[in-house]
Protein backbone atom coordinates (compact mmCIF):
# COMPACT_ATOMS: atom_id res chain seq x y z
CA UNK A 1 0.00 0.00 0.00
CA UNK A 2 1.60 3.27 -1.09
CA UNK A 3 1.48 6.40 1.06
CA UNK A 4 -0.35 9.21 -0.65
CA UNK A 5 -1.93 12.55 0.19
CA UNK A 6 -4.86 10.71 1.74
CA UNK A 7 -2.46 8.96 4.07
CA UNK A 8 -0.86 12.29 4.93
CA UNK A 9 -4.27 13.72 5.74
CA UNK A 10 -5.16 10.70 7.87
CA UNK A 11 -1.81 11.07 9.61
CA UNK A 12 -2.51 14.68 10.45
CA UNK A 13 -6.08 14.03 11.63
CA UNK A 14 -4.91 11.17 13.80
CA UNK A 15 -2.18 13.40 15.20
CA UNK A 16 -4.79 15.98 16.09
CA UNK A 17 -6.81 13.31 17.92
CA UNK A 18 -3.76 11.95 19.71
CA UNK A 19 -2.65 15.42 20.79
CA UNK A 20 -6.15 16.29 21.99
CA UNK A 21 -6.23 13.07 24.04
CA UNK A 22 -2.77 13.72 25.48
CA UNK A 23 -3.22 17.47 25.92
CA UNK A 24 -3.31 17.44 29.68
CA UNK A 25 -0.46 14.95 29.92
CA UNK A 26 1.77 17.07 27.66
CA UNK A 27 0.88 20.22 29.55
CA UNK A 28 1.65 18.54 32.84
CA UNK A 29 5.06 17.42 31.54
CA UNK A 30 5.70 21.02 30.48
CA UNK A 31 4.48 22.30 33.84
CA UNK A 32 7.18 20.21 35.53
CA UNK A 33 10.14 21.62 33.60
CA UNK A 34 8.73 24.34 31.35
CA UNK A 35 5.83 26.73 31.37
CA UNK A 36 2.91 24.34 31.16
CA UNK A 37 1.55 25.09 27.73
CA UNK A 38 2.89 22.46 25.34
CA UNK A 39 -0.34 20.46 25.18
CA UNK A 40 -2.41 23.59 24.77
CA UNK A 41 -0.08 24.94 22.09
CA UNK A 42 -0.12 21.83 19.92
CA UNK A 43 -3.82 21.21 20.43
CA UNK A 44 -4.59 24.73 19.27
CA UNK A 45 -2.34 24.19 16.24
CA UNK A 46 -3.60 20.80 15.15
CA UNK A 47 -7.22 21.80 15.66
CA UNK A 48 -6.57 24.67 13.26
CA UNK A 49 -4.97 22.25 10.81
CA UNK A 50 -8.02 19.98 10.93
CA UNK A 51 -10.30 22.98 10.39
CA UNK A 52 -8.38 23.88 7.24
CA UNK A 53 -8.46 20.31 6.01
CA UNK A 54 -12.22 20.25 6.59
CA UNK A 55 -12.60 23.44 4.57
CA UNK A 56 -10.52 21.96 1.75
CA UNK A 57 -12.49 18.70 1.88
CA UNK A 58 -15.71 20.47 0.93
CA UNK A 59 -14.15 21.53 -2.37
CA UNK A 60 -15.15 19.13 -5.12
CA UNK A 61 -13.00 17.60 -7.87
CA UNK A 62 -10.51 14.75 -7.90
CA UNK A 63 -7.72 14.72 -5.28
CA UNK A 64 -4.65 15.93 -7.15
CA UNK A 65 -2.69 16.77 -4.03
CA UNK A 66 0.83 15.56 -3.36
CA UNK A 67 1.90 14.34 0.06
CA UNK A 68 3.92 17.53 0.25
CA UNK A 69 0.81 19.69 -0.32
CA UNK A 70 -0.76 18.33 2.83
CA UNK A 71 2.43 18.66 4.85
CA UNK A 72 2.90 22.23 3.67
CA UNK A 73 -0.59 23.13 4.84
CA UNK A 74 0.29 21.64 8.22
CA UNK A 75 3.54 23.62 8.32
CA UNK A 76 2.04 27.01 7.60
CA UNK A 77 -0.91 26.44 9.90
CA UNK A 78 1.26 25.36 12.82
CA UNK A 79 3.60 28.31 12.29
CA UNK A 80 0.73 30.76 12.46
CA UNK A 81 -1.22 29.22 15.33
CA UNK A 82 1.09 27.43 17.78
CA UNK A 83 3.62 30.05 18.78
CA UNK A 84 6.12 29.25 21.49
CA UNK A 85 9.20 27.20 20.66
CA UNK A 86 7.30 24.23 19.32
CA UNK A 87 5.40 26.23 16.69
CA UNK A 88 8.40 27.22 14.59
CA UNK A 89 10.11 23.89 15.30
CA UNK A 90 7.23 21.68 14.17
CA UNK A 91 6.44 24.21 11.45
CA UNK A 92 9.94 23.94 10.03
CA UNK A 93 9.88 20.14 10.37
CA UNK A 94 6.73 19.88 8.25
CA UNK A 95 7.96 22.51 5.81
CA UNK A 96 11.19 20.64 5.12
CA UNK A 97 9.31 17.36 4.99
CA UNK A 98 6.93 18.87 2.44
CA UNK A 99 9.84 19.92 0.26
CA UNK A 100 11.03 16.32 -0.19
CA UNK A 101 7.56 14.84 -0.68
CA UNK A 102 6.11 16.80 -3.59
CA UNK A 103 4.78 13.61 -5.18
CA UNK A 104 1.42 11.83 -5.21
CA UNK A 105 2.92 8.76 -3.54
CA UNK A 106 5.97 7.98 -1.46
CA UNK A 107 7.83 4.70 -0.98
CA UNK A 108 9.90 3.51 2.00
CA UNK A 109 13.11 5.37 1.10
CA UNK A 110 11.02 8.51 0.57
CA UNK A 111 9.45 8.03 3.98
CA UNK A 112 12.94 7.98 5.45
CA UNK A 113 13.74 11.14 3.51
CA UNK A 114 10.65 12.82 4.93
CA UNK A 115 11.73 12.00 8.48
CA UNK A 116 15.30 13.08 7.79
CA UNK A 117 14.08 16.38 6.42
CA UNK A 118 11.93 16.93 9.50
CA UNK A 119 14.85 16.20 11.81
CA UNK A 120 17.08 18.50 9.81
CA UNK A 121 14.42 21.21 10.06
CA UNK A 122 14.09 20.92 13.82
CA UNK A 123 17.79 20.83 14.50
CA UNK A 124 18.76 23.63 12.18
CA UNK A 125 15.98 25.86 13.55
CA UNK A 126 16.53 25.05 17.23
CA UNK A 127 20.29 24.44 17.06
CA UNK A 128 19.93 21.48 19.37
CA UNK A 129 21.77 18.20 18.99
CA UNK A 130 20.99 14.76 20.36
CA UNK A 131 21.05 14.47 24.15
CA UNK A 132 19.97 18.00 24.96
CA UNK A 133 16.59 16.75 26.18
CA UNK A 134 14.48 18.14 23.35
CA UNK A 135 12.27 16.82 20.59
CA UNK A 136 15.46 16.38 18.58
CA UNK A 137 16.15 13.26 20.65
CA UNK A 138 12.90 11.67 19.46
CA UNK A 139 13.24 12.75 15.81
CA UNK A 140 16.84 11.55 15.71
CA UNK A 141 16.02 8.12 17.09
CA UNK A 142 13.12 7.85 14.65
CA UNK A 143 15.32 8.61 11.65
CA UNK A 144 17.96 6.07 12.64
CA UNK A 145 15.37 3.35 13.17
CA UNK A 146 13.55 4.22 9.94
CA UNK A 147 16.76 4.03 7.96
CA UNK A 148 17.57 0.64 9.38
CA UNK A 149 14.08 -0.66 8.58
CA UNK A 150 14.24 0.68 5.03
CA UNK A 151 17.68 -0.83 4.52
CA UNK A 152 16.25 -4.15 5.67
CA UNK A 153 13.69 -3.83 2.86
CA UNK A 154 10.80 -3.00 5.13
CA UNK A 155 7.47 -1.66 3.87
CA UNK A 156 6.19 1.86 4.49
CA UNK A 157 4.40 0.51 7.55
CA UNK A 158 7.53 -1.23 8.77
CA UNK A 159 9.54 1.95 8.43
CA UNK A 160 6.96 4.02 10.29
CA UNK A 161 6.51 1.35 12.95
CA UNK A 162 10.25 1.38 13.61
CA UNK A 163 10.31 5.19 13.69
CA UNK A 164 7.36 5.44 16.08
CA UNK A 165 8.75 2.81 18.44
CA UNK A 166 12.17 4.45 18.48
CA UNK A 167 10.68 7.90 19.13
CA UNK A 168 8.66 6.51 21.99
CA UNK A 169 11.73 4.92 23.56
CA UNK A 170 13.76 8.07 23.01
CA UNK A 171 11.07 10.21 24.65
CA UNK A 172 11.22 8.01 27.73
CA UNK A 173 14.98 8.19 27.43
CA UNK A 174 14.91 11.95 27.97
CA UNK A 175 13.80 11.47 31.57
CA UNK A 176 17.24 11.22 33.20
CA UNK A 177 18.81 13.90 30.99
CA UNK A 178 19.69 17.42 32.07
CA UNK A 179 18.27 19.88 29.55
CA UNK A 180 20.65 22.27 27.84
CA UNK A 181 18.24 23.74 25.31
CA UNK A 182 14.76 25.24 25.62
CA UNK A 183 13.00 26.42 28.71
CA UNK A 184 13.91 23.35 30.75
CA UNK A 185 17.57 24.34 30.58
CA UNK A 186 16.81 27.18 33.04
CA UNK A 187 16.29 24.52 35.67
CA UNK A 188 19.77 23.09 35.34
CA UNK A 189 20.08 19.82 37.27
CA UNK A 190 16.46 20.15 38.40
CA UNK A 191 15.34 19.25 34.87
CA UNK A 192 16.52 15.65 35.31
CA UNK A 193 13.83 13.15 36.27
CA UNK A 194 11.15 14.52 33.96
CA UNK A 195 10.26 13.58 30.39
CA UNK A 196 10.66 16.26 27.74
CA UNK A 197 7.20 17.26 26.51
CA UNK A 198 8.36 17.93 22.93
CA UNK A 199 9.98 14.51 22.68
CA UNK A 200 6.74 12.97 23.91
CA UNK A 201 4.63 14.88 21.38
CA UNK A 202 7.03 13.81 18.62
CA UNK A 203 6.42 10.19 19.61
CA UNK A 204 2.67 10.86 19.34
CA UNK A 205 3.10 12.42 15.89
CA UNK A 206 5.03 9.42 14.61
CA UNK A 207 2.66 6.95 16.24
CA UNK A 208 -0.14 8.65 14.31
CA UNK A 209 1.85 8.32 11.06
CA UNK A 210 2.13 4.58 11.56
CA UNK A 211 -1.51 4.16 12.54
CA UNK A 212 -2.59 6.14 9.48
CA UNK A 213 -0.53 3.86 7.26
CA UNK A 214 -1.95 0.76 8.93
CA UNK A 215 -5.56 1.77 8.75
CA UNK A 216 -5.82 2.75 5.09
CA UNK A 217 -8.63 4.85 3.70
CA UNK A 218 -12.09 4.12 5.13
CA UNK A 219 -15.47 5.37 3.88
CA UNK A 220 -16.02 6.97 7.28
CA UNK A 221 -12.95 9.12 6.69
CA UNK A 222 -14.14 12.51 5.44
CA UNK A 223 -10.90 12.96 3.49
CA UNK A 224 -11.75 10.01 1.28
CA UNK A 225 -15.15 11.42 0.39
CA UNK A 226 -13.66 14.23 -1.69
Amino acid sequence: MALDADWAERWVRRTADAIADAKDELTELDRQIGDGDHGENLDRGFKAVVARLDDAATESGPDERTVGDVLKLVATTLMSTVGGASGPLYGTAYLRAAKVSGRPQIDPPAVVAVLEAALEGVSSRGKATVGEKTMVDAWHAAVEAAEAAANDGGSEVDVLRAAAAAADTAATGTIPLVATKGRASYLGERSAGHEDPGARSTALVLGAAMAAALSGPTPADPSSAA
Binding site: T27, R31, I33, G34, D35, G36, D37, E40, N41, R44, M79, S80, T81, V82, G83, G84, A85, S86, G87, P88, L89, R125, G126, V178, T180, K181, G182, R183, S185, Y186, L187, G188, R190
Partner: protein, 331 residues
Protein backbone atom coordinates in the same frame (compact mmCIF):
# COMPACT_ATOMS: atom_id res chain seq x y z
CA UNK B 1 -10.06 28.05 39.54
CA UNK B 2 -11.64 31.48 39.91
CA UNK B 3 -10.63 34.28 37.57
CA UNK B 4 -12.34 37.37 36.18
CA UNK B 5 -12.51 35.80 32.74
CA UNK B 6 -15.06 34.39 30.36
CA UNK B 7 -14.01 31.46 28.17
CA UNK B 8 -10.30 30.97 28.99
CA UNK B 9 -9.72 30.57 25.25
CA UNK B 10 -10.85 34.19 24.81
CA UNK B 11 -8.84 35.57 27.71
CA UNK B 12 -6.26 37.40 25.61
CA UNK B 13 -8.73 38.64 23.01
CA UNK B 14 -11.24 39.89 25.60
CA UNK B 15 -8.55 41.63 27.57
CA UNK B 16 -7.04 43.33 24.53
CA UNK B 17 -10.45 44.49 23.38
CA UNK B 18 -11.00 46.18 26.74
CA UNK B 19 -7.48 47.58 26.71
CA UNK B 20 -7.94 49.10 23.25
CA UNK B 21 -11.26 50.69 24.26
CA UNK B 22 -9.82 52.11 27.46
CA UNK B 23 -6.82 53.59 25.67
CA UNK B 24 -8.24 54.52 22.29
CA UNK B 25 -6.31 57.79 22.49
CA UNK B 26 -3.04 55.85 22.54
CA UNK B 27 -3.48 52.57 20.70
CA UNK B 28 -5.36 50.74 18.00
CA UNK B 29 -5.96 46.97 18.05
CA UNK B 30 -5.68 44.72 15.03
CA UNK B 31 -7.92 41.80 15.96
CA UNK B 32 -6.69 39.24 13.38
CA UNK B 33 -3.83 38.73 13.25
CA UNK B 34 -3.63 40.19 16.73
CA UNK B 35 -1.32 43.11 17.42
CA UNK B 36 -1.48 46.54 19.03
CA UNK B 37 -0.19 49.62 17.28
CA UNK B 38 0.17 53.25 18.26
CA UNK B 39 -3.08 55.15 17.58
CA UNK B 40 -1.61 57.35 14.91
CA UNK B 41 0.23 54.48 13.22
CA UNK B 42 3.88 54.72 12.25
CA UNK B 43 5.63 58.07 12.60
CA UNK B 44 7.19 59.05 9.30
CA UNK B 45 10.96 59.25 9.52
CA UNK B 46 11.14 57.79 13.02
CA UNK B 47 12.61 54.35 13.70
CA UNK B 48 9.74 52.05 14.66
CA UNK B 49 9.95 49.92 17.80
CA UNK B 50 8.21 46.56 17.99
CA UNK B 51 8.20 44.13 20.86
CA UNK B 52 6.02 41.23 21.85
CA UNK B 53 5.88 37.90 23.53
CA UNK B 54 3.49 35.71 25.40
CA UNK B 55 0.57 37.36 27.17
CA UNK B 56 0.25 37.28 30.95
CA UNK B 57 2.93 39.92 31.62
CA UNK B 58 0.63 42.93 31.45
CA UNK B 59 1.15 45.84 31.19
CA UNK B 60 4.19 44.58 29.16
CA UNK B 61 4.17 45.04 26.13
CA UNK B 62 0.92 46.63 24.93
CA UNK B 63 0.90 48.98 27.93
CA UNK B 64 4.11 50.51 26.61
CA UNK B 65 2.81 51.41 23.15
CA UNK B 66 2.59 55.15 22.66
CA UNK B 67 4.75 58.25 22.45
CA UNK B 68 8.34 57.73 23.45
CA UNK B 69 8.28 53.96 23.74
CA UNK B 70 6.90 51.20 21.48
CA UNK B 71 5.13 51.66 18.16
CA UNK B 72 3.64 48.19 18.16
CA UNK B 73 3.30 45.22 20.47
CA UNK B 74 2.52 41.63 19.54
CA UNK B 75 0.83 39.53 22.23
CA UNK B 76 0.84 35.75 21.98
CA UNK B 77 -1.34 33.34 23.88
CA UNK B 78 -0.72 33.33 27.63
CA UNK B 79 2.98 32.60 28.23
CA UNK B 80 3.37 31.59 24.56
CA UNK B 81 5.27 33.65 22.04
CA UNK B 82 3.28 35.17 19.18
CA UNK B 83 3.49 33.77 15.67
CA UNK B 84 5.25 35.26 12.62
CA UNK B 85 1.95 36.06 10.91
CA UNK B 86 1.19 38.46 13.77
CA UNK B 87 4.68 39.86 14.08
CA UNK B 88 5.12 40.62 10.38
CA UNK B 89 2.17 43.04 10.00
CA UNK B 90 3.12 44.67 13.32
CA UNK B 91 6.59 45.35 11.96
CA UNK B 92 5.06 46.74 8.79
CA UNK B 93 2.62 48.91 10.77
CA UNK B 94 5.48 50.32 12.85
CA UNK B 95 7.64 51.19 9.87
CA UNK B 96 7.73 54.91 9.19
CA UNK B 97 10.38 54.52 6.52
CA UNK B 98 13.34 54.67 8.88
CA UNK B 99 13.36 50.98 9.68
CA UNK B 100 12.18 48.95 12.67
CA UNK B 101 13.92 47.63 15.75
CA UNK B 102 12.45 44.47 17.23
CA UNK B 103 13.06 44.01 20.94
CA UNK B 104 12.87 40.32 21.76
CA UNK B 105 13.10 38.66 25.14
CA UNK B 106 15.50 35.76 24.96
CA UNK B 107 13.29 32.68 24.93
CA UNK B 108 13.58 30.01 22.27
CA UNK B 109 9.99 30.55 21.21
CA UNK B 110 10.21 34.32 20.93
CA UNK B 111 13.55 34.15 19.18
CA UNK B 112 12.37 31.65 16.58
CA UNK B 113 9.07 33.35 15.83
CA UNK B 114 10.56 36.82 15.61
CA UNK B 115 13.43 35.48 13.46
CA UNK B 116 10.97 34.14 10.93
CA UNK B 117 8.91 37.32 10.91
CA UNK B 118 11.96 39.51 10.51
CA UNK B 119 13.12 37.40 7.56
CA UNK B 120 9.73 37.88 5.93
CA UNK B 121 9.70 41.62 6.71
CA UNK B 122 13.11 42.08 5.18
CA UNK B 123 11.88 40.24 2.10
CA UNK B 124 9.02 42.74 2.02
CA UNK B 125 11.54 45.56 1.97
CA UNK B 126 11.47 46.73 5.60
CA UNK B 127 14.83 47.53 7.15
CA UNK B 128 14.91 45.62 10.46
CA UNK B 129 17.37 45.35 13.30
CA UNK B 130 16.84 43.14 16.34
CA UNK B 131 18.06 43.04 19.89
CA UNK B 132 17.73 40.22 22.40
CA UNK B 133 17.08 41.13 26.01
CA UNK B 134 18.70 38.69 28.45
CA UNK B 135 18.89 40.38 31.83
CA UNK B 136 18.02 37.48 34.12
CA UNK B 137 21.09 36.57 36.15
CA UNK B 138 19.27 33.56 37.59
CA UNK B 139 20.14 31.74 34.40
CA UNK B 140 23.77 31.20 33.56
CA UNK B 141 24.57 32.27 30.05
CA UNK B 142 26.52 29.21 29.03
CA UNK B 143 26.67 26.34 26.62
CA UNK B 144 24.37 24.47 28.95
CA UNK B 145 21.35 26.76 28.84
CA UNK B 146 19.23 28.52 26.27
CA UNK B 147 20.96 31.65 27.56
CA UNK B 148 19.76 34.25 30.00
CA UNK B 149 16.09 35.04 29.88
CA UNK B 150 14.67 38.46 29.19
CA UNK B 151 12.65 39.70 32.15
CA UNK B 152 11.90 43.09 33.74
CA UNK B 153 14.94 44.76 32.20
CA UNK B 154 12.95 44.70 28.97
CA UNK B 155 11.05 47.75 30.21
CA UNK B 156 14.27 49.74 30.44
CA UNK B 157 15.32 48.68 26.94
CA UNK B 158 11.94 49.71 25.51
CA UNK B 159 11.88 53.03 27.36
CA UNK B 160 15.41 54.08 26.52
CA UNK B 161 15.35 52.89 22.91
CA UNK B 162 11.96 54.56 22.47
CA UNK B 163 13.39 57.86 23.64
CA UNK B 164 16.37 57.48 21.30
CA UNK B 165 14.04 56.87 18.37
CA UNK B 166 11.96 59.87 19.39
CA UNK B 167 15.08 62.02 19.39
CA UNK B 168 15.69 61.09 15.78
CA UNK B 169 18.43 58.47 16.07
CA UNK B 170 18.70 56.21 13.04
CA UNK B 171 18.14 52.46 13.14
CA UNK B 172 21.76 51.65 13.91
CA UNK B 173 21.80 54.31 16.60
CA UNK B 174 18.61 53.07 18.26
CA UNK B 175 19.85 49.49 18.12
CA UNK B 176 23.16 50.56 19.62
CA UNK B 177 21.55 52.32 22.56
CA UNK B 178 19.28 49.32 23.11
CA UNK B 179 22.35 47.08 23.16
CA UNK B 180 23.97 49.41 25.65
CA UNK B 181 21.00 49.06 27.98
CA UNK B 182 21.07 45.30 27.55
CA UNK B 183 24.77 45.25 28.41
CA UNK B 184 24.12 47.23 31.58
CA UNK B 185 20.88 45.83 32.96
CA UNK B 186 20.46 42.79 35.17
CA UNK B 187 17.52 41.31 37.06
CA UNK B 188 16.61 38.51 39.41
CA UNK B 189 13.24 37.43 40.74
CA UNK B 190 11.55 35.45 43.47
CA UNK B 191 8.15 33.80 43.74
CA UNK B 192 6.14 33.28 46.91
CA UNK B 193 3.21 31.69 45.08
CA UNK B 194 2.84 30.48 41.52
CA UNK B 195 0.63 32.02 38.84
CA UNK B 196 -2.38 30.16 37.46
CA UNK B 197 -2.62 29.99 33.67
CA UNK B 198 -6.29 30.40 32.61
CA UNK B 199 -6.67 27.16 30.64
CA UNK B 200 -4.52 25.05 32.96
CA UNK B 201 -6.68 25.25 36.06
CA UNK B 202 -3.94 24.86 38.63
CA UNK B 203 -0.85 26.75 39.77
CA UNK B 204 2.15 26.54 37.46
CA UNK B 205 4.28 25.07 40.21
CA UNK B 206 3.67 23.77 43.69
CA UNK B 207 5.24 25.61 46.58
CA UNK B 208 4.88 24.72 50.24
CA UNK B 209 3.77 27.27 52.80
CA UNK B 210 7.31 27.76 54.03
CA UNK B 211 9.16 27.72 50.73
CA UNK B 212 10.00 30.33 48.14
CA UNK B 213 11.33 29.86 44.65
CA UNK B 214 14.39 31.96 43.86
CA UNK B 215 15.52 32.76 40.34
CA UNK B 216 12.14 32.39 38.72
CA UNK B 217 11.27 33.62 35.27
CA UNK B 218 8.03 35.26 34.27
CA UNK B 219 6.27 32.25 32.78
CA UNK B 220 5.57 30.22 35.85
CA UNK B 221 8.70 28.21 35.19
CA UNK B 222 10.11 26.84 38.40
CA UNK B 223 13.16 28.79 39.54
CA UNK B 224 16.76 27.87 40.06
CA UNK B 225 16.34 26.79 43.65
CA UNK B 226 13.78 26.43 46.32
CA UNK B 227 14.73 27.84 49.70
CA UNK B 228 12.99 28.26 53.05
CA UNK B 229 10.83 31.38 53.24
CA UNK B 230 12.70 34.34 54.66
CA UNK B 231 11.99 37.94 55.52
CA UNK B 232 12.03 40.77 52.98
CA UNK B 233 15.51 41.92 53.88
CA UNK B 234 16.98 38.47 53.37
CA UNK B 235 15.05 37.82 50.17
CA UNK B 236 16.02 41.20 48.75
CA UNK B 237 19.64 40.40 49.41
CA UNK B 238 19.27 37.11 47.50
CA UNK B 239 18.07 39.14 44.52
CA UNK B 240 20.21 42.26 44.68
CA UNK B 241 23.56 40.65 45.38
CA UNK B 242 23.83 38.51 42.22
CA UNK B 243 22.51 41.43 40.16
CA UNK B 244 25.03 43.90 41.52
CA UNK B 245 27.86 41.36 41.40
CA UNK B 246 27.14 40.46 37.82
CA UNK B 247 27.12 44.12 36.82
CA UNK B 248 30.40 44.51 38.73
CA UNK B 249 29.15 47.84 40.06
CA UNK B 250 31.94 50.04 41.32
CA UNK B 251 31.79 52.67 44.04
CA UNK B 252 30.64 55.99 42.71
CA UNK B 253 28.52 54.58 39.92
CA UNK B 254 24.88 55.50 39.63
CA UNK B 255 21.96 53.31 38.68
CA UNK B 256 18.28 52.96 38.04
CA UNK B 257 16.75 50.70 40.71
CA UNK B 258 13.57 49.05 39.50
CA UNK B 259 11.58 46.84 41.85
CA UNK B 260 9.03 44.99 39.82
CA UNK B 261 5.99 43.20 41.17
CA UNK B 262 5.00 39.87 39.69
CA UNK B 263 1.31 40.75 39.80
CA UNK B 264 -0.01 39.35 43.06
CA UNK B 265 2.11 41.04 45.69
CA UNK B 266 0.86 44.25 47.30
CA UNK B 267 2.58 47.45 46.21
CA UNK B 268 3.39 48.14 49.85
CA UNK B 269 5.64 45.07 49.94
CA UNK B 270 7.45 46.17 46.79
CA UNK B 271 8.44 49.36 48.58
CA UNK B 272 9.84 47.32 51.45
CA UNK B 273 12.02 45.46 48.94
CA UNK B 274 12.95 48.75 47.29
CA UNK B 275 14.08 50.26 50.59
CA UNK B 276 16.31 47.31 51.37
CA UNK B 277 17.75 47.04 47.86
CA UNK B 278 18.57 50.72 47.93
CA UNK B 279 20.40 50.43 51.25
CA UNK B 280 22.38 47.49 49.89
CA UNK B 281 23.40 49.50 46.85
CA UNK B 282 24.34 52.46 48.99
CA UNK B 283 26.48 50.19 51.14
CA UNK B 284 28.36 49.37 47.95
CA UNK B 285 28.88 53.06 47.33
CA UNK B 286 26.41 53.05 44.44
CA UNK B 287 23.99 55.95 44.02
CA UNK B 288 20.38 55.26 43.10
CA UNK B 289 19.60 58.21 40.88
CA UNK B 290 16.43 56.87 39.26
CA UNK B 291 13.72 54.58 40.66
CA UNK B 292 10.73 52.64 39.51
CA UNK B 293 8.49 50.53 41.74
CA UNK B 294 5.38 48.72 40.57
CA UNK B 295 3.82 45.86 38.64
CA UNK B 296 5.18 46.29 35.12
CA UNK B 297 6.51 42.94 33.95
CA UNK B 298 4.23 40.48 35.62
CA UNK B 299 3.48 36.83 35.58
CA UNK B 300 -0.32 36.85 35.92
CA UNK B 301 -1.08 36.83 39.67
CA UNK B 302 2.24 35.35 40.74
CA UNK B 303 3.24 36.57 44.18
CA UNK B 304 6.78 37.80 44.26
CA UNK B 305 9.05 40.47 42.90
CA UNK B 306 12.17 41.05 40.90
CA UNK B 307 14.98 43.53 41.35
CA UNK B 308 16.44 45.16 38.26
CA UNK B 309 19.48 47.43 38.20
CA UNK B 310 20.52 49.47 35.19
CA UNK B 311 23.92 51.16 35.22
CA UNK B 312 23.35 54.76 34.15
CA UNK B 313 25.42 57.40 32.45
CA UNK B 314 24.37 60.87 31.36
CA UNK B 315 22.94 59.68 28.06
CA UNK B 316 20.96 56.77 29.46
CA UNK B 317 19.68 58.97 32.28
CA UNK B 318 18.50 61.61 29.83
CA UNK B 319 16.80 59.00 27.66
CA UNK B 320 15.12 57.48 30.73
CA UNK B 321 13.89 60.94 31.73
CA UNK B 322 12.57 61.80 28.27
CA UNK B 323 8.79 62.15 28.05
CA UNK B 324 6.76 59.00 27.64
CA UNK B 325 3.03 58.66 27.19
CA UNK B 326 1.72 55.11 27.24
CA UNK B 327 -1.04 53.32 29.11
CA UNK B 328 1.31 52.05 31.79
CA UNK B 329 4.23 54.47 31.87
CA UNK B 330 3.78 58.18 31.59
CA UNK B 331 5.86 61.21 32.44
Amino acid sequence: MKKLLNDPADAVADSLAGFALAHADLVRLSPAPVFVVRAGGAVTGKVGLVSGGGSGHEPLHAGFVGDGMLDAAVPGAVFTSPTPDQILPAIQAADGGAGVLTIVKNYTGDVLNFETAVELAVEEGVEVASVLVNDDVAVEDSLYTAGRRGVAGTLAVEKVAGAAADRGADLAGVAAVAERVIANVRSMGVALAAPRVPHVGRPSFDLADDEIEVGIGIHGEPGRRRVPAADADAVTEMLLTPVADDLALARGERVLLFVNGMGGTPLSELYVVYGRARRLLEERGVTVSRSLVGNYVTSLEMQGASVTVLRLDDELEALWDAPVNTAALRW
